[in-house]
Symmetry: C2
Subunit: 435 residues, 2 copies
Amino acid sequence: MSSQRRSLVDSRHGEYRVLHEADLRDYLAALPEVAARLGGAPASWSISEVGDGNLNLVFIVKGAAGGVAVKQALPYVRLVGESWPLPLSRSHYEYLALTHQARLAPGLVPDVLHHNEALALVVMELLEPHIIMRKGLVAGTTYPRFVDDITTFLARTLFLSSDLAVTAAEKKEGIAAFAGNHALCKITEDLIFTDPYRIVEQNRWTQPWLDAIAAAFREDLDLHVAISRLKLKFLNAPEALIHGDLHTGSIMVTESQTKVIDPEFAFYGPMGFDIGAVIANLLMAYLASSGHKRSPGDRRAFEAWVLETVEGAWTDFVRKFLELWRTEAKGDAYPVTLFGGEAGAARLEAERQVYMARLFQDTVGFSAAKIIRRILGLAHNIDFELIEDPKRRAICEARSLRLARAMMVDAASFRTIGAVTKAARDARDWQPDFA
Amino acid sequence: MSSQRRSLVDSRHGEYRVLHEADLRDYLAALPEVAARLGGAPASWSISEVGDGNLNLVFIVKGAAGGVAVKQALPYVRLVGESWPLPLSRSHYEYLALTHQARLAPGLVPDVLHHNEALALVVMELLEPHIIMRKGLVAGTTYPRFVDDITTFLARTLFLSSDLAVTAAEKKEGIAAFAGNHALCKITEDLIFTDPYRIVEQNRWTQPWLDAIAAAFREDLDLHVAISRLKLKFLNAPEALIHGDLHTGSIMVTESQTKVIDPEFAFYGPMGFDIGAVIANLLMAYLASSGHKRSPGDRRAFEAWVLETVEGAWTDFVRKFLELWRTEAKGDAYPVTLFGGEAGAARLEAERQVYMARLFQDTVGFSAAKIIRRILGLAHNIDFELIEDPKRRAICEARSLRLARAMMVDAASFRTIGAVTKAARDARDWQPDFA
């Protein structure tokens, strides 16, 4: 039996092993659809491991005819090492989420070509010439398609998996299907909703400038109550199938395309967590931008675009979500039979606005939580990390923390997305006392 | 092979059939623990079918040494007939809930002696001389143990299955374990949260006196918004493993004992739904009481006891729930590490009060929903039904609807349980215009 065939058989027998280049070549050669897409002889394929995320191996494989991306989960957190084990089942949930999202929001996630649950492996179309959006934002690139695409993704994936669109039975089946992904949820529960607010060895921040703020956040009981309420909502509100990690590192872009990747944190959770992730990461891109300035005014147009994008991300999401609610409300919530006639329709429309206002409050709060964890917690982002001068970086981070604290503790005072962008502008103009 | 042995074998082979007296006798004779508890020769056991609920067969079996109760699910709704099919799996969920509740609140549910999933059958200890609490309330009996027992049941089953007590992983496993019980949830979603507010053939009410109120409720958009929000919460808030049908017909009592039965509607839902069910059914007992009066003042002491019981049900529940939170908070929500020191402890205690205030709002709303469905929906209760004079019954029902409407539409104005009992007293004194 050739090694190629043995490799395939092993995987079918449920034996996990970390794939190295040679194994992977054999494995892919045995998949007719993948081999045809790559083209040419397997020996001619180029294979490179490019994973720069926190958790997995990612291979890019190219042949004469085309390319594929291969993602394999490791049985531990790559960022930390084997001391932090993490179940391989996350690959199954990622596959489940990708295929679900592809149905709900066609064209906005990569096509899945193959999945092997035992090997915790997904083979996807290669996104080319897409780049990770966060890298583009650091470089000051604007993305004219982004608002339209991301709001389509958010509105469709969230609305169409919610009680507004599906029956309670279907929703409960969905919740159960993702319930096993709790180890990934636990990462969020710890790293976003708990650790940045207490002493934990793996926390880090830009020292010494942020020492005082980090200490203040660990003592700030208003903040601790607010983050605890958000955590309770994260634990207790299976409103929709959420992506669960929708930052700008999980989005690949060109000027004309947007693709959402890496939904391994997916589960049924609060919608505001996904919308908040998008907004938080745009706000960080905005407040980090001055740290990447090379000449006076060179980032001005970019920064204006980022704030417009924040506003568009919310307002277009709302418009699309409401449009779906008016036309595809096939779920068990808010039965239209209780809102008949003109007066009923008007009242239901008013109630939709109330629903969106509540969702906006959640979004503001979750957005704040996502900012704070990137500055005081374990996992940081290149928006800030690539600002070489640590004091300059700390100024951008301190402004972000100032904005985030206000958004979290006083979410109710932010009634519109315009209030958020105004507060972001004010934070941009604020000088921390160490500046 | 004797018919007795064949019966047992059939059941083990997963073949459902409705058990009749002779089959049941054979079946129980083959269960050593059950046969021993009954005592004597199987032929000497008395078997009678006593089910007066809406869904199942219930047999009481007595032998020389003791008795057992046998509950078998039918593949349809007994109240309606074979035209309304209902999955047998509810027996599995009832068994799961009973055993879970027995661990969390020992002594407050019947002991399970045997379960056969294929036959949808549970054999339990016979509760004797207990009666269904609702019958006792109609008769004007007071139950001095009730407040203490039901609040222990509520506080322990709700707290100990919530994110305050268990890890998020354990909670998600629990949610998934009960997710399949959606057909029973659907009954609640339709019969409690939707049908009473729209024209549905199976609705009924005391005609002609309540015609105008029923019509007004079908047009009342404030009510329709409020019930839709409650429905959304029922669909979307897996706070704890709830009983799901905790009315006074699901409680068996003596003067010295309380047992909660029939948790086949159990799933992870909002805590306020269970607490509200208890309070709603007490409020109905109170407002129906005048309909059972035989001589002036003969129900006065009973009625005073019922209102004290409403108040105690909430206040003792809160005391016990908070006590558990202070001593057994092993869950992922509200991590104590974020509330260290004296100031932190004080702030967490304040937040616990906020949590209970929110839960009280839910309880008031769900309580109202449970009242309305019993008067305008499909399933009525003997508190009202046994009032023979229909006009007199309609007066009691109209008062209950008046109270319930205020509680549902204006829940926020009820800040304390005293406000609820005061409103109940006011409703008791109110005369509908047809009176």
